[in-house]
């Protein structure tokens, strides 16, 4: 047989790994910073770009897309070439992929702290960056699929299926979730509103976890774990079932993020059912990974790489058990909006993703640098400190989650809330937040050890940029053999594989989303719900810019404990029809502060004025940051920028919000009038001097509007849970 000689590209692998380590460190540090801000709110130094709401998005984006993203690309480029016995199809595409991705990360690191955000979780980047992401993603996909097409190995190993599913699904998710109408280069509105926006968002959000943080990592597991253990995966059969079941089921589970929300019931139930079914393939995968090491546990004791993998796969098992549990309505009722959720997420990211990546790095860097790891001892220290870090991160957060949830729901015998002041339920958690910050610090110390170890390793070797290899060419005319099974036929055909993965995930997406968007009866209209005024719309955009939704929900769930707390007079939970003009929705996912959906009218304007200037003045001990830059004071000019207001109103009209032509023609007068009435009211207080056109006035207008429409609806006033 004719042998062909070719070379593997190791430089691209190295580049991605180095980028992952660099951005990962930055992402972790930002995470630690925001964790500390919850203990010491002063740490924002009254600088907008250091404030919690903005930095939290930077942290999540950095660890998901920069740390895990770069590492996964590095691992894919390494394993793909070897599994296919082929060099990446195009060096140019590899380079475009690498540099394009880094540019996107830089763009994110600049725009997010500036408050340029779409506010949709894990998809905060504005539309020009969204387009860049789509292009770079396509470069990656074309490069990968072309490589698969020119391969020298007939069958596609299961890891590659996971890579293909990742590429296809993330592309679909990203495009549909990012459909937005630009108002300017840095501002756009989601084309979906309210409930629909929330459903699309969590269909995306959940599957970003599934197809960005899970399927590619599973692919890496199926390659690097057998590789490091030098034995094949426990059951290849199981891996096939694992693959199909996972991509089939995952795509449906998104609504479990919206239980007890205003989402239609059938969609919620769907989310629960599919989430519970997900345990099966997930645990199948975990068992497959762990059993690969059966009878080789002595190897685990010796190999730090395998140790990292074992903890990683175990963390995968833990979080995929916990996920379905959290999808059960009664557990969700307790856990949702609390610190339980970050705990769950961090078992997944720090444990499952982080440790798999660390193991991979310790295995891979010495390989491509043709040397051995500088210090096994140091890597072992990293392993133990990192594990401790995860525990210190997660355990206090479980305690915090339970504590807060119980306090929220605690009633006195006379039917009043035991902790009527939300703040009491917050200050209680601060010691837990401190322990969490300690956990994060330990994890970062581990990362520092990794950096030292990798740098020393790299110095002791030399990068083998181009690795020689040889393999026989594939006969082109292979026709399969008679009676060949259909599945093996798919395994040989990458394009078919891609196509079928696409079909599988589209079925789930379409059946879940299309009815919610099309069926009118899903969102009963409420006559008294009217569009925001121009001033309120601008105030809402300030809310989005500052990322208030990182700490505040706008979704009163149908529990007695919630309606009594948030709407004591009418006791009305949030209805789907209240959100029809919300492009995008701002339901939030975490209640570090109280829900704000019924905030309007709760306090006088001056309360908000003082509270936003210094929350502790109104709520002693509050950990909400100060927002002094919304005030024209101390030489700062905080005039409301209305240069886009008209365009914004017109964009809303295009999206179906019924502003009249007359309103749009007179928006400025209307805005001035409303601003003046708020400012006049505020200026009655001898300690306040405010101009109508300050940003704080617009924000107050928005806060005071929240939830007031529904109170005008007599028919609904009795709607109690």
């Amino acid at each position: 047989m004719q042998m062909e000689r070719f070379r593997y590209d190791n430089a691209i692998v190295r580049n991605f790994i180095v980028a992952s380590i660099l951005w990962g460190t930055v992402g972790f540090l930002v995470g630690l910073w925001v964790a500390l801000e919850l203990i010491f709110p002063q740490l924002n130094f009254e600088l907008p770009f250091l404030t919690f709401g903005r930095l939290r998005a930077l942290h999540t984006n950095a660890v998901i897309f920069a740390f895990v993203g770069n590492a996964m690309f590095g691992g894919i480029y390494y394993s793909l070439q070897r599994l296919l016995k082929a060099r990446m199809a195009s060096d140019l595409l590899s380079a475009i992929h690498f540099w394009g991705w880094q540019l996107i990360i830089v763009a994110a690191a600049i725009t997010l702290p500036m408050g340029i955000t779409s506010s949709k979780e894990y998809a905060e980047l504005e539309w020009p960056i969204d387009i860049a992401i789509a292009l770079v993603w396509v470069a990656f996909g074309v490069n990968m699929i072309s490589t698969i097409i020119k391969r020298r190995e007939r069958h596609l190993y299961v890891a590659i299926w996971f890579y293909i599913a990742t590429f296809v699904t993330v592309a679909v998710l990203h495009i549909f979730n990012s459909l937005e109408l630009p108002v300017s280069l840095f501002k756009s509105y989601s084309v979906y509103a309210g409930v629909q926006d929330a459903l699309v968002q969590w269909w995306y959000g959940h599957n970003a976890v599934a197809f960005f943080l899970t399927t590619p990592i599973l692919g890496l597991m199926y390659y690097f774990l057998p590789k490091a253990a030098n034995r094949p995966v426990y059951s290849y059969r199981l891996s096939i079932i694992h693959f199909w079941a996972l991509i089939f089921l995952y795509i449906w589970a998104g609504p479990h993020h919206l239980l007890y929300s205003a989402l239609p019931d059938w969609a919620q139930s769907l989310g629960t059912v599919f989430s519970v079914m997900l345990i099966a393939p997930s645990w199948g995968g975990m068992i497959n990974g762990l059993l690969t090491l059966r009878g080789a546990w002595d190897k685990v004791r010796e190999s730090v790489v395998l140790k990292f993998f074992v903890v990683s796969v175990t963390a995968y098992g833990m979080s995929t058990f916990e996920g379905p549990m959290l999808s059960l309505k009664n557990i969700n009722a307790i856990a949702h909006f609390t610190d339980w959720i970050p705990a769950h997420v961090h078992i997944g990211t720090l444990g499952w993703n982080g440790f798999l990546i660390f193991g991979m790095i310790y295995w891979l860097m010495p390989k491509i640098y043709r040397t051995s790891l500088f210090s096994d001892k140091m890597a072992n220290a990293h392993f133990w400190i990192g594990t401790l870090g995860i525990l210190f991160w997660a355990l206090p957060m479980y305690v915090a989650g339970f504590t807060q949830s119980l306090m929220w729901k605690d009633f006195n015998p006379d039917g009043t809330l035991a902790y009527g002041n939300f703040l009491e339920t917050v200050t209680q958690l601060i010691p837990m937040y401190a322990l969490r910050a300690l956990g994060g610090t330990l994890y970062i110390v581990g990362m520092v050890l990794l950096i030292i170890n990798v740098v020393r390793t790299v110095r002791s070797g030399e990068l083998l940029r181009e690795e020689e290899a040889e393999a026989p060419a594939l006969e082109r005319a292979y026709a399969g053999h008679k009676g060949e099974h259909w599945h093996r036929w798919i395994e040989r055909k990458p394009l078919q594989m891609t196509f079928w993965s696409l079909v599988v995930i589209l079925i789930g997406g379409i059946i879940e989303i299309v009815p919610t968007i099309l069926i009118k009866s899903n969102i009963p209209t409420i006559a008294s719900v009217k569009p925001y005024t121009a001033l309120e719309l601008e105030g809402r955009d300030i809310y989005i810019r500052e990322g208030c939704n990182a700490c505040h929900s706008q979704m009163v769930r149908p529990f007695r404990s919630e309606v009594v707390r948030y709407d004591p007079v009418h006791q009305q939970y949030s209805m789907a029809g209240e959100y029809v003009y919300d492009h995008p929705h701002l339901w939030g996912s975490k209640r570090t502060g109280p829900d704000l959906h019924r905030e309007g009218g709760k306090y006088p304007h001056s309360w908000h004025y003082n509270h936003m200037w210094d929350p502790t003045s109104m709520s002693p001990g509050s950990l909400m940051p100060r927002y002094t830059w919304l005030y024209s004071a101390n030489g700062r000019d905080a005039s409301l920028n209305t240069s886009l207001t008209e365009k914004k109103l017109k964009a809303m009209v295009q999206l179906g919000v019924p502003y009249t032509e007359e309103y749009i023609a007179n928006w400025e007068e209307e805005l001035n009038m409303q601003a003046k009435s708020i400012a006049d009211e505020l200026n009655k207080d001898p300690n306040i001097k405010v101009q109508p056109r300050e940003e704080i006035v617009a924000l107050i207008a928005y806060l005071q509007r929240l939830g007031t429409d529904i109170k005008k609806e007599p028919a609904l006033a009795l709607n109690q849970p």
Binding site: S79, H155, Y236, E470, I511
Partner: protein, 61 residues
């Protein structure tokens, strides 16, 4: 087209049945994959599972 789809979907009674239908599709598909996996040739799987290990590579340490 979209309009037509929209109009008819708004009136479909019990659209909730859709998810059930797709659940059925799944089930059928899983049976098929399960059937394949159980019956398929063991040697083929063994060969497949050894792919990461024997990938031709310059070994060094």
């Amino acid at each position: 087209m979209m309009k037509y789809a929209k109009a008819s979907m708004e009136t479909i009674a019990g659209i909730e049945i859709f998810p059930l239908i797709s659940l059925g599709i799944f089930f059928a598909f899983f049976l098929a994959v399960g059937w394949y996996v159980l019956r398929a040739d063991k040697r083929h799987f063994r060969k497949m599972s050894e792919m990461p290990i024997d990938a031709n590579e310059t070994t060094h340490s």
